[in-house]
Amino acid sequence: MAERTGNKQLVKGNVALAEGAVQAGCKCYFGYPITPQNAVPEYLSWRLPEVGGTFLQAESEVASINMVLGAALTGARVMTSSSSPGISLMQEGISFLAGDQLPAVIVNMQRCGPGLGGIQPTQGDYFQATRGGGHGDYRTLVLAPANVQELFDFTYLAFDLADKYRNPILVLGDAILGQMKEPAILEPDHPREEPDKSGWTLTGAKDGRPLRNIRSMFLGEGVQEQLNYTLREKYDRMERDEVRYDQRWCDDADCAIIAFGTAARIAISAIHEARDEGIRVGLFRPQTLYPFPFDAIRSLSERVKRLLVLELNTGQMVEDVRAAVGDRAAVGFHGRPAGGLPSVTEVLAKIEEL
């Protein structure tokens, strides 16, 4: 993670991501209240109109995601945010966004489940986020911030990626990241890249151009199959070009912790303590969960023979890590689900077990 320069302010994660959306040129927000992300709609309810945008509190998450789809049809930069149960409700709409090849940004500040669960932090939605989540054979690119600065930066970036791939992009946070305050610079570190969308948006068929129709249902022989191949080709490009991760203290490491988001923050504390005791532990932190950094983890496993996957669940990302590592290194796991937070002591004990 490169150090950012600029005016730092103490800001809540949910507000930082909302401002990241504004700076990215987000023109529309549709959402429904749910803890722990309510500061997002509350902030955007005054901030978006201030910059000429549209804020609307929808009647449900189901309506929210379909309003997002409607706005995306016009080419407007658009987002919604929610937390786990609300994101479950949005899955049909996310599947439609993927099938229609529409750009949109969706933020999930995870809370624990299954069911109503509770409002504590978790990483229980890893599978849902990285495997498409709704029906059909599709993927959404998933950005996993681990601090307030990244909430701003990744949300800002998510809009460019959504437009680049004409695909829904997920920002996957959790109840801690959304509600914590940290110093952050709420200014982008690069200009945004918004491509010309006039070649596909629904604007009305102007100047005699033929009608346009945006849909995901194709009844002709083989046409639906072809759409799926087209999507697959897009996901292949994402897998080639969009893998992001943060790797630290791995050069001299005897073992490494692989963790994302809040779990990575706990890992960093544990690594500092371990190194104070003379145990050389490294960190590998995926910043994209889909595409997953398989190659980088495979390389890591060729040098570091003991790996610990740390998650706020009972073991989801660890399946991807095991697939990347094979038998090149030992892969241990430690996780606490549904609001249980692994302590540094627990993590240190697990490292010693490896």
Binding site: A58, V62, V68, L69, A71, E92, F96, K206, N213
Partner: protein, 254 residues
């Protein structure tokens, strides 16, 4: 010298539809196309077609269209219109879409006064899926999921959507029409024109509920199906204007 008194609307694509003989969709599509032509709005109109027989509306109307998930047409329309208020946005929804799975979206979009036109085809049955009970199926009406006839005790009664929607604050115009004879087609045409005119003038939610015959799933001849609409359906769903905020008074509905 000859004078052309009738022609296919320019916004209606010249092709054979997949609709069954006697189905109302073809007529309703034509009326929408005539309105688009009349107001010269082809270049700024976007239609939303949700799941159901009429999802294929985009095969027949020569305007920009989007598909929507079942029940979500009015959420998609809300997003379209809010993102680009210069567009003329309409939805074309069946009874299952608008009155069952999408009831929540319908009520809230109407209540917010979304500046869109809703063409609501009420044919008292699920067409595309093969004739199951709709929220507007009549009491006693046999469908593939009410083989003994719809019972109030088990399935509840039909939902009268125009009556439910008209009192909501954001609704500018709400009328129920039918397509069972030429006179009523002309009335339906007038209602659809009015709904589009309201949106052009910046007015609020405008809905036209159209009673239409699903000949195949009623298992009737086209003529008998039209008579069934005129008789049985109209008894449950009286025709008329339920709200017209552009007019003096409160409309002429019963």
């Amino acid at each position: 010298m000859t004078t052309k008194v009738y022609e296919r609307p320019a916004s209606l694509i010249d092709k054979t539809t997949h609709y069954c003989g006697g189905c109302g969709h073809g007529t309703a599509h034509k009326l929408v196309a005539e309105a688009i032509d009349h107001f010269g709005i082809r270049d700024r109109t976007v239609g939303v077609a949700p799941a159901g027989c009429s999802v294929l509306m985009y095969e027949y109307l020569d305007v920009d269209t989007a598909e929507s998930a079942h029940g979500r047409a009015l959420a998609v329309a809300t997003g379209l219109k809010r993102a680009n208020p210069d567009l003329i946005v309409f939805t074309y929804q069946g009874d299952g879409d608008l009155a069952s799975i999408g009831l929540c979206e319908t009520i809230h979009a109407a209540n917010r006064g979304e500046k869109v036109v809703v063409i609501f085809i009420n044919n008292a049955v699920y067409g595309m899926t093969g004739g199951q009970m709709a929220p507007t199926t009549l009491i006693g009406q046999r469908t593939t999921t009410t083989p003994a006839g719809r019972s109030v005790v088990n399935e509840g009664g039909p939902l009268n959507m125009a009556e439910m929607i008209a009192p909501l604050n954001g609704v500018t115009y709400c009328e129920r029409v039918a397509l069972f004879d030429a006179k009523h087609v002309r009335k339906a045409r007038k209602a659809i024109f009015k709904a589009f005119e309201i949106q052009l003038n910046g007015g609020g939610f405008a809905i036209v509920e159209i009673l239409s015959a699903c000949v195949t799933n009623l298992k009737m001849t086209p003529l008998a199906a039209q008579e069934w609409v005129a008789d049985a359906m109209v008894k449950q769903f009286p025709l008329g204007v339920f709200k017209d905020e552009t007019a003096q008074g409160d409309g002429d509905a019963v």
